[in-house]
Symmetry: C2
Subunit: 343 residues, 2 copies
């Protein structure tokens, strides 16, 4: 594995919700940077962004030359990753890709920093960042799996609109204003449809039991990610995962309710101890349950409601909440970059 002490870094998709978060986290963490380049689509090219490393002109990804870049943090959507990440990798760049484009490729490690760090060493130019919902879940499931062997899991999500990018946040804001004019209409069912570009039904003051698009067997791509990414990250193909992904009217912060069963059943007390000592995890007790807005803007994933299952005995149920733009995306990408730095 190629490592770097002070790398030349590029952020690709620098103007998106995750890209801008990447920039602030690079600044916050004093990430050692020899030079920083920002890239985005043609639409944003030419714009100047003020950074800790001076003003930077956004380059057009389509024409940018990757030569000289050591690490590129990609968050420009799956299509652009598919098109440009291999080109960057061929030019010797270590690409950390936040899209789903390469996550299930056999020669691309899929890494939750703090959970399966060792997997990154096998990369051949591209490292994949897991899906934001998987990330929050795995921060809790990973340490428990290490201790007890995860056999099966039911996971039901409460995903914020920023998981759909800035468009999602704008849609929630606009629809909230629309409905706020007359909230009583929502109770009577006499509401007018505020319209929306992104979601098939209104998301403000509502929940949408469909995140992503239906792909196979009635499950969405988001749901299949929970299944397949969990198995790959925990390196166990026979983990049974039953997923339901639901969008909720929250700006930032993905919640996930999960029940898990293990090879060696653990008590709630033991599970709580394991989680409390896991890196990047805070356990909150029932007096201040972990909620999405409490997890927004912080690095740690919050876990609470840790309890022994009462149906299907022998398992653990819990609720986890994490900032989908930070640990769920930008922060984990930068933690992966840090794993690539010489120590």
């Amino acid at each position: 594995m190629k490592t770097f002490s002070k790398p030349h870094v590029a952020v690709v998709g620098a103007t998106g919700a995750v890209g801008t978060t990447m920039l602030s986290i690079l600044e916050e963490r004093d990430f050692p940077i020899a030079s920083l380049r920002l890239m985005a689509s043609e639409r944003s090219a030419g714009r100047i962004v003020e950074t800790k490393w001076g003003p930077i002109v956004i380059e057009d990804l389509a024409t940018a030359d990757p030569s000289g870049i050591d690490i590129a943090l990609f968050s420009a959507g799956g299509a652009r990753s598919k098109q440009y990440a291999p080109k960057f990798a061929d030019a010797g760049v270590a690409v950390i890709d936040n899209s789903s484009a390469f996550r299930m490729d056999d020669d691309v490690p899929l890494v939750v920093a703090g959970v399966n760090d060792a997997a990154i060493t096998s990369h051949k130019g591209i490292v994949a960042n897991p899906n934001c919902t998987t990330m929050a879940l795995l921060m809790a499931a990973g340490p428990l799996h290490d201790a007890a062997g995860l056999k099966s899991m039911i996971a039901t999500s409460y995903q914020s609109v920023s998981g759909s990018g800035k468009t999602g946040m704008d849609e929630l804001e606009r629809q909230t204003e629309f409905f706020a004019e007359d909230l009583s209409a929502l109770a009577s069912g006499d509401w007018e449809d505020p319209g929306g570009d992104l979601y098939q039904r209104p998301i403000a003051f509502n929940v949408l039991p469909l995140a992503g698009s239906i792909t196979d067997q009635g499950y969405t791509d988001e749901e299949w990610k929970l299944v397949n990414e969990t198995r790959k990250i925990l390196d166990r193909q026979d983990i049974a995962v039953e997923p339901t992904c639901v969008r909720v009217p929250v700006m930032v912060g993905h919640g996930i309710a999960a029940s898990m069963w293990f090879d060696d059943p653990v008590s709630a007390d033991v599970a709580t101890e394991i989680l409390a000592s896991a890196p990047g995890v805070q356990v909150w007790d029932d007096s201040k349950v972990p909620t999405p807005i409490d997890s927004a803007g912080i690095d740690d994933v919050l876990v609470g409601r840790v309890r022994e299952t009462i149906g299907f005995r022998g398992g653990i149920s819990l609720f986890a909440s994490g900032d989908n733009l930070r640990k769920g995306a930008a922060l984990n990408a930068i933690e992966l970059a840090e794993l690539l730095l010489e120590r």
Copy 2:
């Protein structure tokens, strides 16, 4: 069982969220009423409510004489039900109680109209209306249980604030206005706490993975209701139920994600057929998934995302959404009253 052709009716708790919904549903359904009395706490006593049956002065429940009432619809909270429902029953009134006070009493039938109607015949003065979340879930689980025998279920809720009454709706409205001033603060984590009377954390733009109060084994009273009421309504004590109850920023409409396993496994197609022909249920396909605001203001419970489980094979996963004030409370109570009417 005593039945009535045109009963003298009382609505107890007539000024609350459920009580006012009871009044509108009585009007909508042309419920045959000989006389209508409205009762509430001392605070509301003396107020005049305009109804289809003329203006009615609200009586103080504490001093009201139940004589002459045939059916009383109680939705005044558990404490008042405990205190006054037996007094009404002793006076010969058939009490339909929306609180949790008597639900688990052996001689009180717990009935979801359309699911276990026959149980009502055994009442001894008090019939209990199930919890709003149980109701939405059982409208889907009941018909499937009849066909295939429900063995076990994982249920994860998305409960609206009106489940906490008008206070919950006011709190969501006030906090929404508070946060709407600067939604970007929610993304950065730099938000000020809007304060709240009801919920331990803000509910606007957030989800709270704790609905009700923790009682036993780390589960809340709301969660235990899902377990115990399901078993009683479906008359099968060995059904395994793993519940998680979460409050969401929705005004009216409870959603619930559930995975169910049966004695005789059914396919998604068969399950969909069963649900589509069940009374009070609409099956919505993936092009218009069932959401809480779609279910607000209507009588039917919406069911969608019906699919065969991919983890723990052989089950059915689905999402149900129902108006917690209507089918989840007022409507079911009135349907139970209709069961008491002479046919």
